[in-house]
Symmetry: C2
Subunit: 470 residues, 2 copies
């Protein structure tokens, strides 16, 4: 046999980019091809995906229907009300919380802190110790916000007499609810429950909420699609950056606030509260996403993710085709930037319903809209572009209402497909705040996090089990 030795060698490197870099350094002509083994090389997941592929046509069609419902959504801020009065079937002596269901025993520090604060706010106990005793004795009931069409950032605790925003999805008639954002510093959602926190919650209920409700009453509703789409062109991603959206909302509200029957000083305080809180829009953004995603639920065979949420202990997802069932795994730590004096050892695991924004294609999915956010969550402005580019690989479509100037006005990547997540081994990217792991301290940083892959694997297993046996 004659062996021919080539005069020149050119290399195509597949997979790990490090090999290509080494060769390039050594002067070898090398082309790098981005490639990952299907399903991250997990043979079991690959086999499950192959079994599910039998239903490809049904699934594709169900997903298109589900995606269509999200894209048609028309979330509108129409009102505010007290939680127990406006949220249908709000149960007695119950606190709602972020993420999938959990008991007092399972709760992390900041969620316990928020529960203590909410119990004190409701007057069910007179001291933090008494509040803890009541909660531990099972005398306070807990339920996920998501089970009541509500969402809450971080601990996400909603109590019956707290005011909530009412968002109506005018395309489908469904409603969603979210608490009012308290601002930064010591706040209930990060597990603080001191005097300052309770005083603010009382002011929000007794002074702020009635004025805002009155002003909203004189408007025809505020289109949240309209504000979010503008804000995405103004450096927000409407999860961890809501600066433009809050300013645009205030612009809509201010003229109506002026003509309410309240005293100028009270109206001024209300305006200054919104002016001083650049996250004010976050809770509205979240409720709008919830209102957009709910009509995409319960479409048989759809592998579209309709909820991603964290209770501080576990991360849970829900799938359109699999009803109200949660697929959970332990919540992961967040990679990010910490405020001075804090570090990863102080951090609570991932927390909050705010991943509803990513589920709806904004937040981390729209980071390309928000290069300035890297100052808050870490990375370079190019990373922000790349996060969004990656998310196109695991989503079903693009939202033409939400366009990204930095990507030449491409729509935001929308509708997470369970199959794509696992087949391409790319997890959703979520922008998030970081809470201290102990109750009462508050926010200590912000960063980027992924859901545990296992939530998706479990959902895939369930989907395959649901398939008719031959």
């Amino acid at each position: 046999m004659k062996v021919r030795i080539p005069k020149e060698i050119r290399v195509v490197n597949i997979g790990l980019p490090d090999f290509a870099a080494d060769l390039k350094e050594a002067g070898v002509d090398v082309v790098h091809l981005e490639w990952r083994p299907p399903a991250g090389g997990d043979a079991r997941v690959l086999s499950l995906l192959e079994r599910l592929a039998v239903k490809k046509e049904e699934i594709d069609s169900a997903n298109q229907k589900a995606l269509g419902r999200i894209l048609e959504g028309d979330p509108t801020l129409i009102d505010l009300g007290l939680a127990a009065e406006v949220i249908p079937n709000y149960p007695e002596r119950t606190l709602l919380h972020a993420g999938p269901p959990l008991s007092w025993e399972e709760m992390s520090g900041p969620v316990r802190g928020a529960v203590i604060g909410a119990v004190l706010f409701e007057g069910w106990a007179q001291s933090p110790e008494e509040a803890e005793r009541l909660a531990a004795a099972g005398e306070i009931k807990f339920a996920p916000c998501h089970h009541f069409q509500a969402v809450g950032p971080m601990a996400g605790v909603v109590a019956p007499s707290m005011p909530v925003f009412v968002i109506e999805n005018r395309a489908f008639g469904n409603k969603a609810y979210a608490s009012l954002n308290e601002g930064l510093g010591k706040v209930l959602r990060f597990g603080a429950y001191g005097e300052e926190v309770l005083t603010r919650l009382t002011w929000l209920k007794d002074d702020f909420y009635p004025i805002l409700k009155d002003a909203l009453g004189s408007l025809e509703g505020i289109s949240i699609n309209n504000i979010t789409s503008q804000a995405l062109q103004m450096g927000d991603e409407c999860h961890n950056r809501n600066k433009a959206a809050t300013a645009l909302l205030l612009r809509e509200l201010a003229p109506a606030l002026v003509e309410t029957d309240y005293k100028p000083a009270a109206i001024r305080s209300a305006l200054e509260f919104i002016q001083g809180n650049e996250h004010f829009y976050l809770n509205i953004s979240m409720a709008a996403c919830k209102a957009m995603l709910d009509p995409a639920r319960d479409i048989p065979w759809s592998t579209l993710v309709v909820a991603m949420a964290r209770n501080g202990t576990e991360f849970g997802i829900q799938l359109s085709g699999l009803g109200q069932r949660w697929f959970t795994a332990p919540a992961l730590p967040v990679e990010g930037l910490y405020f001075p004096g804090y570090g990863p050892e102080d951090a609570n695991p991932d927390l909050g319903d705010s991943a509803i924004t990513e589920t709806c294609g904004i937040g981390g999915f729209a980071m390309a809209s928000s290069p300035a956010i890297v100052q808050f969550v870490g990375g370079s402005s190019n990373d922000a572009l790349n996060y969004t580019r990656e998310m196109y690989k695991i989503t079903l479509g693009e939202n033409g209402n939400y366009t990204i100037p930095n990507l030449n006005f491409r729509g935001t990547p929308t509708g997470i497909d369970l199959r794509k997540v696992l087949a391409k081994d790319i997890l959703p990217v979520i922008n998030t705040g970081i809470a201290h792991k102990e109750a009462g301290i508050g926010q200590i940083g912000a960063g980027v996090v992924n859901p545990p892959r296992d939530c998706f694997v479990q959902a895939l297993e369930k989907m395959v089990r649901e398939m008719p046996k031959k």
Copy 2:
């Protein structure tokens, strides 16, 4: 002689990229090197630049001083007042206008239209015909805004009883002035002078201005550096896009407006006017730039450009080292996007003092901050990045207060150096509105424009003539 024929040819292409593209298409290995001949190949300009280089040390040091003064600027919105009452030495029966000096005979359509409107507004004439007669007879005097520390967008006409913003540069104590922005549609600055225009001007003076003045009086001044720096991270470039800046300004003003002594309905109208006009901030941005640039004037030997302005007929520039002298050339047509029904044949040449924003390093120089603006002025989001990258080549420094997220928070390119413009043959890029060439019609588009190169050549000639003879 023995000729060696090489086995392989590799090409380095210098200059025009088309040659490289042709070779590449033909399969030739080619590297393109960006290169332009010095001074665009203009031997006379090159020789003038070489003569000026004798003074290099003096010029460099003068330019650093001039740049430093710009970067130290602290423009603050402190008050409003009627032009003749607050602008020092406002002359009798005079209208101010944009750009370098010009007579009624030289005025283009939209400037004449604005003059007619201003004469009617002042009550100096009862009909447009009478106003024209007065102007043509020399009974109205004209002077550039710039000669009175003022600036005006487009026609830029300021009349004695019009309200103006007062900006104080708190680092140097100097003040600058600008008229109030009327919004879009039929407006004086684009040369419209009908009933609607005059009614709005009267409302601005009698109803809007007193409320705004009152509200501002209760504040300690509004930092314009603060708003502009935020807006540059929110998709504005603060010349042709002022959406975020206007919302941020309204956010600052609203609480103070509420507590003025005016009726709620009047305050509501004022808020709604700002809410409905996303260019409201433009005139403030312009006056702030003027206030920042004026302290950089009159530094001997500085080749820093302290003003670029257009009167609709001519483009003029002023240089720090050459006093109040204007270097002018015919204003160029604007390349851009036209509103439906209009085209380049309807357009007036380049117009307005708003190029003061580019002179100060924002506007077209900060287009990388504002990828969304390409929908208004044309091009792709990548073009927006490239415009800013080019401007670093002709400027003396970067403004650390104004950072660009898309360029990893690099400061805006600031301080145009006459020498660099001519040596590198790169002209400043200006974002601008396009006015119809006839009086009374208004805005018909927006786009990008350059100053005529000849303004810079004339300034260079003058600079060389000023040099001491040996």
